[in-house]
Symmetry: C2
Subunit: 208 residues, 2 copies
């Protein structure tokens, strides 16, 4: 097994945090994304989505998607459990992980790609090109994140962690949403529960 | 168990197709989304995301996310299997279902909400308001779908179904991506494998 990694991006960081929290050893190979190596062989044939991370199994199977990688690792290494212990908890964790990701994390990524100078030339995920950044797309992404954060705050008013009373993959996704939101200078003054959770969870070794 | 449904939207349709393919009986309750019922009690307390579908378990637990609902149903009713038979197949199905959803389906939904007259007043998912539609956000959504479809076509050149040699939940998500793409008049002339797959899979009873 080998995970093709990129140190600077949030999706690979989610997978690395998951692996650290599991306490397992997985071999990594860095892809020089800033130099466009994901558009070259052998990467582009292995993963036509041209994104990181992706995982290559020993039989050559490619799993080119962060949460699919985590799901596989959860099955191979069940403890500590990060995706739910029974059908109901797995559904709740899945719900929250996907809500954090689709309502928050993905929209924040779209905002970043369409506003931050470092993404010029890489505005569309997996595409090498000179598409212009769009201030309107960036604003919409931020607007959607701004709508999601109070819902996350309300959830954290009644729960120690994102999906309930213990740390799960949903907290990992939320950590990278919040780090990104802070980097993009979101005002979190109306989200005291997020701030409480962020301070507590940031101290975990998996995020160091 | 009860699923709060909305007949006209693609996410509830994904869950209904999943349930039909399973051959199981689940009680549904229609939410009058066009009339804004999702913003009223008791719905808004049950599901603060104000979206359909969502599932209420007998103990009151709410699962407010389409694929989390499907995952729960898969565990309760393992056959016919729609999410993978072992860890590797589950990872491959998860990868493709998420790629179809995040690269295709979600972007197509954003394009629809920002361009179709029926979404005026409902431009942002789960928000009742008069946010303007954005032609630029719609165009970006369509651009991203247009980048994804050839990748899906390449996958279907070598595989009968989206995630391999048998029908899975990834085909269900792809069906609603393709129905939407056809409704939004995407040119599929360069995607013969998608057209072959679409014709074959459309005939399944779960999509009738």
């Amino acid at each position: 097994m080998l995970i093709y990694d990129f140190a600077l991006a949030p999706n690979p960081a989610r997978v690395r945090a998951f692996i650290k929290e599991k306490g397992i050893e997985v071999p990594f190979q860095e892809v020089k994304v800033r130099e466009g190596q994901q558009h070259e062989e052998p990467y582009v044939t292995k993963n036509p989505f041209r994104l990181t991370p992706f995982m290559e199994l020993d039989d050559g199977t490619i799993i080119a998607e962060s949460m699919a990688i985590c799901r596989y690792l959860e099955e191979m290494h069940p403890e500590p459990n990060l995706m739910g212990n029974d059908a109901k908890e797995r559904a709740v964790v899945e719900m929250w992980n996907r809500r954090v990701e689709m309502d928050g994390f993905s929209n924040l990524g779209s905002a970043a790609r369409n506003s931050m100078p470092m993404f010029i030339g890489r505005v569309l995920p997996g595409v090498k090109g000179d598409q212009p950044q769009s201030a309107e797309v960036a604003a919409r992404g931020k607007e959607l994140v701004g709508l999601f954060l109070p819902k996350l705050d309300a959830q954290l008013a009644n729960n120690a962690f994102v999906a309930g009373d213990r740390f799960t993959v949903a907290d990992i996704t939320a950590m990278f949403l919040l780090r990104g939101a802070k980097a993009q200078e979101f005002d979190l003054s109306a989200c005291p529960n997020i701030e409480r959770w962020f301070a507590e969870v940031s101290a975990r070794p998996c995020f160091s």
